[in-house]
C-alpha cells in the first residue's frame, strides 16, 4: 500500500515538473519563421538575431538556392530580419526581385523596409 502511494506521489510530482518545464519552454519560444524550414529542420526556432546571421551567411554563398531562401525570408515576421534579406538581395543585384516583392505588398512595413534599403545602398 505504501509503495503504491509513493508511486502515485512520484508520478504526480513528475507530471507537475514536466508541465512547468513545458510552460517555461513555451514562454521562451520565439515566433516561427516558416522560411527557415527550407534550410533544414535544425534552423527552425532560431532567434531573430540568429536568423539575421543565417541570412548574411546564406547571402555570402550567392547561389540560386540562397536567393530563393532570401526571397522567402522577406516574409519573416521580424521586420529587421526581412530588412536583412532585402538588403542582401539588393547587394546581390536582385533589385528587380526586391522591387517586385515590395510592389506586391504595399504597406507601412514595406515602406520602411524600402526606405532602409535605399538608405543602405
Amino acid at each position: 500500500m505504501l509503495v503504491a502511494v509513493a508511486l502515485i506521489v512520484a508520478l504526480t510530482a513528475a507530471l507537475v515538473v514536466a508541465a512547468r518545464l513545458l510552460s517555461t519552454r513555451r514562454r521562451n519560444a520565439v515566433p516561427i519563421a516558416g522560411w527557415t524550414s527550407a534550410a533544414g529542420h535544425e534552423f527552425e526556432g532560431l532567434s531573430d538575431a540568429e536568423r539575421c546571421d543565417l541570412i548574411f551567411a546564406v547571402a555570402a554563398l550567392g547561389d540560386d538556392a540562397s536567393v530563393n531562401l532570401l526571397e522567402r525570408a522577406l516574409d519573416d515576421p521580424s521586420e529587421p530580419v526581412a530588412l536583412a534579406a532585402a538588403r542582401s538581395l539588393s547587394t546581390l543585384g536582385r533589385r528587380t526581385t526586391l522591387q517586385r516583392y515590395l510592389a506586391a505588398r504595399p504597406g507601412e512595413r514595406t515602406r520602411r523596409i524600402a526606405d532602409a534599403v535605399e538608405l543602405l545602398s
Binding site: A18, L21, E42, D53, R87
Partner: protein, 1066 residues
C-alpha cells in the same frame, strides 16, 4: 545541401565519410549492458569562421544514451530532462568556430539488455554550419554478441481443470516457454504427449492464443516434436496450450500426469517437471433434470384431473443403487388408484404404503419418469393451493436423499349467464313526452361461488327524468353518479349467493319537450369482485313529439309610438315562440310591407327578399328579430304603413300573424337660410353691391307652394334685370325686382333638401350720409307657414370731395378719381464681375542648384590631408543614415566613421580606402540592421572580422606613409577636408597588430582621418578622438559594453552640430 535534420533518419544512407576523427571504444564487438564511448574532434581548417555550427551523433537501435555523457569541449549539454542535444534532430548548437579552432565532443551509450547476436551497430557524427552542408564522420561498425536461455524457472508445464476434474470434463495443459537470455531462440521445439486417461480435444491447441494445428501436417496429438516457434525473442515468452477430455467412467481418485520437453537450435532438449490432476466421481440427482411437477398446476377447477410427474436423472459420474420415491398428497388432492406408471408402463401398487415406489438402479447419465394421477376435490374456495411432495432416496454410496415439491392452484368463481340475467320492458314501446316508462331487471348467480360486493350500474337515457329503482315495493337508494353520468345511477347489492336470484324494477319519466322519434334506452351492468363487469342488454322506447306556434305568442311589435316621418327608420320587433314539444325546423316568417315603406334591415334572422329565416327553434324556445322599416319620401300624411306576416315551418301548418299598423307624418322647413352681400361690412356711396339669398327645404316633406318676398330699400338702387334664381335670369316685374313685386318670387313643389339661390345687384345711393346702415329682410311663405331671413347690415362710408381739385387735368372735373396704373417694374441689369490675372511670384534662386563653396587653410608641414567628396545626394543620404543610426552609446560614432571616411589621403592614390569603405559598409550595415532588433546585444564578432582587420591595417599603413594634400575633385559638390599626422597613425598601426578590433584603438586611428576644416567638424573629430583614447585601456568586453551603453552628451552634441552645419549646406 542535406540538412542536418535529414541525416540519420530511419532508412537514410550514412553520410559520406569526410571527417575521419570519430573514435569508438570498444572497437569491434559489444555485449548487452556494455558501455560504448564515442569521441569526435574537428577543426576549422578554412580561412573564415564557420557560423551556426551544429553537431549531431546518431543513436543506433540497441544503444541507449547515458545521461550526462554528452559533452562538447568538456562542457555538459544535457537539458533538464536529461536529453542530449547531440542526439536531437537539429543537433547541438556550437556557435561559431573560428579558423584554426578545434572542438572536441564525446558521448557514451549503453548496450541494450536484449540485442540479437550478430547485430551490426553503426556509429557516425555529422557536422554542419550556416555556410557548410552536413558532413559526416567516419562510420564505426560494431558487432553484438549474445545467446538465448530457455531452461529457467519460468519455463514449465501445468494441467488444470476449470472446475472439479470429473470424468467427462475437460482439462487444459499449458506449456510456457520463457527466453531469459540476451538474444532470440530459433526453431523452438516442444514435445508434449497427450496425458494417459485423457483424449485430445481436436483443434484445441494454441500457440500464444493462435491456432496452431493448421500449420502441422497432421493433428497435434499425432505430431511429435513440432516446431512451435520460429523465433523467441530475448526476454520473450510463448505459451503452448491444448485441451483434453477426461475419460469416463473413471474411478474416483485417479491421477493424470502431463509432461513435456523443450529444445531449440541454440539449446539442447531438456525435460520439464511433470504436472498432475486427481479425478473426482459420484452419483448426483441435484440438477434441474430431476424434478417433480403437476400438470395442470394453475387455475385448476374443482373436479379436474391433475397428473403428478417425478423425473429422476443421475447427473453424476457414478451409478445410483436402490433408488425409491415416496409421494405425499394433501386431502383435497385425491389419488387415482391403478393409474401410476414408470416410463409409461403401469406399476404395481403396494398394499402397504401404496404411495412408495421402488425405482431400482439408475446408471450415471440415465434417468426415469414416475407418473401418478389425482383429482381435485369440490367444493373449494377460490385460490386454494394444494401442496404435494416426493422424496427420492438412493445408495451412491453413501446413502443420499432429495425432497422435491410441487403445488396446484385451484380456481373457483360465480357465474351470471346472459340467458338468465336480462332487462325486460313493460308496456308500449311508443311514448309521449311526460309519460312514465317501466322495465324489470333479473339477476341470477349460476356459479359455484358467491359473488361479493355486487354493484348495479344503470344506463338510462340522459333525458329521462325521475328515475327510480325498486325491489318489490321497496325503493332502492341510488347512491352516486358513475363517470360521465349526470344522475345517481349506482346501487349496492352486496353479496349474491351461488344459485340465488334478485329481481328489480326501474321506472322513469319521458322529458317534455323531447325531439320526435327520440330513442330512449335503459340498460344496466352488474359489477362483482370476482367477475368484474357483467353487462345486461338495453331496452328501448320511441318518443312521438311535434312543434307548435300560437298567434298569441308569435307577434310583430313596434318599439316607438310616435308617427313615422319620411326617411325615418322604424324598429319592429318580431317574436316567434315554439310552444310544442319538438324543435321546429326551417322556420320562416314571410312579411308583407305596404309600398310606402321599405324593409331596410334585419337583425337576428336571415333575410331572403321579404322573408325572415329563423332556421331551427327548439321546443319551448323563442326567436327574436328586429326589423328596420324606412318610410319613403313624398308621403302623403294620411297613409299609415302596414306590416303583415305568415309563419311557416316543417311539419307545422302556416300561422298568420296579427297586422302591425304604423302612423306616418311629413312637412317642409325653410327656417334656415343665408342672406348676405358683397362687400359685407362697409360700402362706399355709389358702389355696387352683390346680394345673395340662399334657401333650402330643410324639412322632410315637399313644399307645394313657396313665396319669397323682399321689401325694397330706399338706400339702394336696384340694378334692372340683375336678378337670377339658381343662376337663371328672372325678368323684372315692371320697374320692380321680381322679389319686390306683389307676389314676390313663387316656387312650386320644392322637394326636401333642394336649395334655392337668388342673386341680384344694387348700387348704394350717393346721397347717403356716412354711417347709414343698409339691410334687407326676406319673407318666405309656404304651406301655411312663414319664416323670415334677415341680411347682414352694411355701414355706408362717405367723405368730403372737392370739385376742380384733380391735379394733372387741364380743366376742372366734378367727379372722382379712378385708380391709377402702377409703374412698370424696371428690368434688372446684368451683374458685373472682374477676372483678375493669376499671381506668379518668382523667387530668387528658384530652380538654380546651389554649389557649396568651402575652403580651409591647412598646415602642410608634417601633416597630410584627407578629402571626402560628397554630392548632394550622398551628403543627404549620409546625414539620414546618421539620423537613423542613433542607437545610443558609442556605436553611433562608429557609424559616423563609416559615413565620413575620406575618399583620398595625401597626394597619392590610396587604393585601400575603397576596400575599407566597402568592408565598413558590409559589417556596419549588418550591425545597423541587427541593432533594430529589440534588446539586441552587440557581440565582438559584430565588429571583429578578418577582412575588416586586414583592410584597416592596410589603410593605416598607407595613411602613415602619406604626405601632401589630395587634389580637388572637379565634379564634387562638397569637399570636406582634414589633416592628420602620419606619425601618429604609424604608431597606431603598429599597435593594431596586437589588438582586437573590438577595442578603441583601430577606431581612434580612423577618427584621425575625419574632416576638420570647419569648426563643427574639427570639434567633433577632436572629441571623438578624445573619447576613444579614453577607452584605450579597456578590454574587448568593456569596449563592447561602451559601444552600447556609454553615454557622452558632449560628443553627441558635437555630432549634432556637425550634422546641422552640413544639413544647412545641403
Amino acid at each position: 545541401m542535406r540538412p542536418l535534420s535529414e541525416v540519420f533518419t530511419p532508412g537514410a544512407p550514412t553520410l559520406p565519410e569526410r571527417i575521419r576523427t570519430l573514435v569508438v571504444s570498444p572497437e569491434r564487438e559489444l555485449e548487452p549492458g556494455m558501455t560504448v564511448r564515442a569521441t569526435f574532434t574537428f577543426r576549422n581548417h578554412g580561412g573564415a569562421p564557420a557560423t551556426g555550427v551544429r553537431l549531431r551523433f546518431n543513436q543506433p537501435e540497441g544503444l541507449m544514451y547515458l545521461v550526462g555523457s554528452g559533452r562538447v569541449d568538456g562542457n555538459e549539454l544535457d537539458d533538464e530532462l536529461g536529453n542530449s542535444p547531440l542526439l536531437a534532430r537539429a543537433g547541438a548548437h556550437l556557435g561559431d568556430v573560428l579558423p584554426g579552432d578545434e572542438r572536441h565532443a564525446e558521448i557514451a551509450y549503453s548496450v541494450a539488455g536484449a540485442i540479437e547476436n550478430g547485430t551490426m551497430i553503426e556509429l557516425q557524427a555529422a557536422l554542419a554550419s550556416f555556410e557548410l552542408p552536413a558532413a559526416g564522420s567516419n562510420v564505426v561498425r560494431l558487432i553484438a554478441r549474445s545467446r538465448p536461455q530457455l531452461q529457467n524457472a519460468l519455463t514449465r508445464i501445468t494441467i488444470e481443470a476449470p472446475h472439479d476434474p470429473m470424468p467427462g470434463t475437460e482439462a487444459q495443459v499449458t506449456v510456457r516457454i520463457h527466453n531469459a537470455g540476451e538474444s532470440s531462440a530459433h526453431d523452438v521445439v516442444v514435445v508434449a504427449p497427450i496425458p494417459e486417461h485423457t483424449t485430445y480435444v481436436a483443434g484445441s491447441v494454441r500457440v500464444n492464443g493462435r491456432e496452431f494445428e493448421r500449420e502441422l501436417a497432421t493433428t497435434f496429438d499425432r505430431a511429435y516434436a513440432p516446431i512451435v516457434l520460429r523465433t523467441l525473442a530475448a526476454n520473450g515468452s510463448a505459451t503452448l496450450a491444448y485441451r483434453t477430455r477426461i475419460n469416463t467412467p473413471l474411478a474416483d481418485g485417479s491421477v493424470i500426469l502431463a509432461s513435456a520437453q523443450v529444445a531449440s537450435q541454440e539449446t539442447p532438449a531438456f525435460a520439464l517437471e511433470a504436472a498432475s490432476l486427481t479425478v473426482v466421481a459420484a452419483a448426483d440427482f441435484g440438477d434441474d433434470r430431476t424434478a417433480f411437477a403437476a400438470e395442470p398446476s394453475h387455475d385448476v377447477r374443482p373436479g379436474e384431473r391433475v397428473t403428478l410427474t417425478l423425473n429422476a436423472h443421475n447427473a453424476g459420474t457414478a451409478d445410483a443403487e436402490r433408488v425409491s420415491a415416496n409421494i405425499e398428497l394433501p386431502d383435497a388432492l385425491v389419488w387415482v388408484r391403478g393409474a401410476s406408471s414408470i416410463d409409461g408402463r403401469a406399476t404395481r401398487e403396494r398394499r402397504k404404503d401404496p404411495m412408495r415406489f421402488s425405482l431400482g438402479r439408475i446408471p450415471a447419465g440415465d434417468g426415469l419418469t414416475l407418473a401418478i394421477e389425482t383429482i381435485v376435490a369440490t367444493p373449494l374456495p377460490d385460490g386454494t393451493v394444494l401442496d404435494a411432495s416426493a422424496t427420492l432416496e438412493w445408495d451412491s454410496p453413501p446413502s443420499a436423499a432429495r425432497k422435491l415439491e410441487c403445488s396446484v392452484t385451484v380456481r373457483s368463481e360465480p357465474v351470471f349467464s346472459a340467458r338468465r340475467n336480462v332487462i325486460e320492458r313493460r308496456g308500449s314501446g311508443i311514448v309521449r313526452p311526460g309519460d312514465m316508462v317501466e322495465a324489470a331487471i333479473a339477476l341470477s348467480n349460476d356459479g359455484s361461488a358467491a359473488a361479493h360486493d355486487g354493484v348495479l350500474h344503470l344506463r338510462a337515457h340522459h333525458a329521462l327524468e325521475e328515475i327510480g329503482l325498486f325491489e318489490g315495493n321497496e325503493r332502492l337508494r341510488l347512491d352516486r353518479p358513475s363517470a360521465g353520468a349526470s344522475y345517481a345511477d349506482t346501487v349496492e347489492l352486496g353479496t349474491i349467493d351461488a344459485q340465488s336470484a334478485r329481481r328489480l324494477t326501474i321506472r322513469a319519466r319521458v322529458p317534455s319537450p323531447c325531439p320526435d322519434r327520440t330513442e330512449l334506452a335503459v340498460g344496466a351492468s352488474l359489477h362483482t369482485r370476482e367477475l368484474g363487469e357483467t353487462t345486461l342488454r338495453d331496452v328501448f322506447w320511441r318518443v312521438d313529439s311535434h312543434p307548435a306556434f300560437r298567434e298569441e305568442s308569435t307577434v310583430l311589435e313596434i318599439e316607438d309610438a310616435p308617427a313615422l316621418r319620411p326617411n325615418q327608420l322604424a324598429q319592429i320587433d318580431v317574436t316567434v315562440a315554439n310552444v310544442g314539444t319538438d324543435a321546429a325546423h326551417n322556420v320562416c316568417l314571410r312579411l308583407y310591407v305596404s309600398p310606402e315603406a321599405r324593409l331596410e334591415s334585419v337583425d337576428g334572422a336571415t333575410r331572403e327578399k321579404s322573408s325572415l329565416l329563423f332556421g331551427e327553434i327548439a321546443a319551448g324556445a323563442r326567436a327574436r328579430a328586429r326589423l328596420g322599416v324606412r318610410l319613403l319620401r313624398s308621403l302623403a300624411k294620411e297613409h299609415p304603413v302596414t306590416v303583415d306576416g305568415v309563419l311557416t315551418a316543417d311539419a307545422v301548418l302556416p300561422v298568420p300573424l296579427a297586422r302591425l299598423t304604423i302612423a306616418t307624418t311629413a312637412e317642409a322647413d325653410f327656417s334656415v337660410g343665408t342672406f348676405r352681400s358683397e362687400p359685407a361690412d362697409v360700402v362706399d356711396v355709389g358702389e355696387t353691391l352683390e346680394w345673395q339669398l340662399l334657401l333650402r327645404n330643410g324639412g322632410d316633406g315637399v313644399a307645394h307652394h313657396v313665396q319669397i318676398a323682399i321689401a325694397p330699400s330706399d338706400s339702394l338702387i336696384y340694378v334692372p334685370n340683375s336678378t337670377t334664381v339658381n343662376d337663371v335670369p328672372v325678368r323684372d316685374v315692371g320697374a320692380l325686382a321680381p322679389f319686390a313685386a306683389a307676389r314676390g318670387i313663387a316656387l312650386n313643389e320644392v322637394d326636401p333638401g333642394v336649395e334655392v339661390a337668388i342673386r341680384w345687384r344694387t348700387v348704394v345711393h350717393n346721397g347717403l350720409p356716412a354711417g347709414t346702415s343698409i339691410g334687407y329682410v326676406a319673407q318666405i311663405l309656404y304651406d301655411e307657414r312663414e319664416d323670415s331671413i334677415v341680411s347682414n347690415a352694411l355701414s355706408v362710408r362717405a367723405g368730403p370731395v372737392f370739385a376742380d381739385a384733380i391735379p394733372g387735368l387741364p380743366f376742372g372735373l366734378d367727379g372722382l378719381l379712378g385708380p391709377a396704373l402702377s409703374s412698370q417694374p424696371r428690368a434688372l441689369e446684368a451683374d458685373r464681375f472682374i477676372e483678375l490675372p493669376p499671381a506668379t511670384p518668382v523667387g530668387e534662386g528658384n530652380g538654380a542648384p546651389y554649389r557649396a563653396q568651402l575652403s580651409a587653410g591647412i598646415e602642410t608641414s608634417a601633416a597630410a590631408g584627407t578629402l571626402a567628396v560628397f554630392s548632394a545626394d550622398r551628403l543627404g543620404r549620409t546625414l539620414r543614415f546618421l539620423g537613423e543610426a542613433r542607437f545610443g552609446g558609442l556605436i553611433t560614432h562608429l557609424f559616423a566613421l563609416r559615413g565620413f571616411l575620406p575618399d583620398a589621403v595625401g597626394d597619392a592614390h590610396c587604393a585601400s580606402l575603397s576596400a575599407l569603405r566597402d568592408s565598413l559598409r558590409e559589417e556596419f550595415d549588418r550591425l545597423f540592421i541587427k541593432l533594430r532588433l529589440p534588446n539586441y546585444v552587440i557581440a565582438p564578432r559584430d565588429v571583429e572580422t578578418a577582412s575588416l582587420r586586414a583592410t584597416i591595417g592596410r589603410v593605416l599603413d598607407e595613411a602613415a606613409a602619406a604626405h601632401g594634400l589630395p587634389a580637388a575633385s572637379p565634379t564634387a559638390e562638397l569637399e570636406l577636408r582634414g589633416t592628420f599626422r602620419p606619425a601618429d597613425l604609424r604608431d597606431l598601426a603598429e599597435s593594431l597588430r596586437e589588438s582586437d578590433l573590438a577595442t578603441s584603438l583601430p577606431w581612434s586611428a580612423l577618427a584621425r582621418l575625419l574632416p576638420d576644416d570647419a569648426p563643427p567638424q574639427a570639434e567633433y573629430r577632436d572629441r571623438l578622438i578624445e573619447s576613444l583614447d579614453a577607452l584605450r585601456n579597456c578590454d574587448s568586453s568593456e569596449f563592447i559594453d561602451a559601444l552600447q551603453h556609454h553615454q557622452d552628451a558632449a560628443l553627441d552634441g558635437a555630432l549634432d552640430a556637425m550634422s546641422a552645419s552640413l544639413r544647412a549646406i545641403a
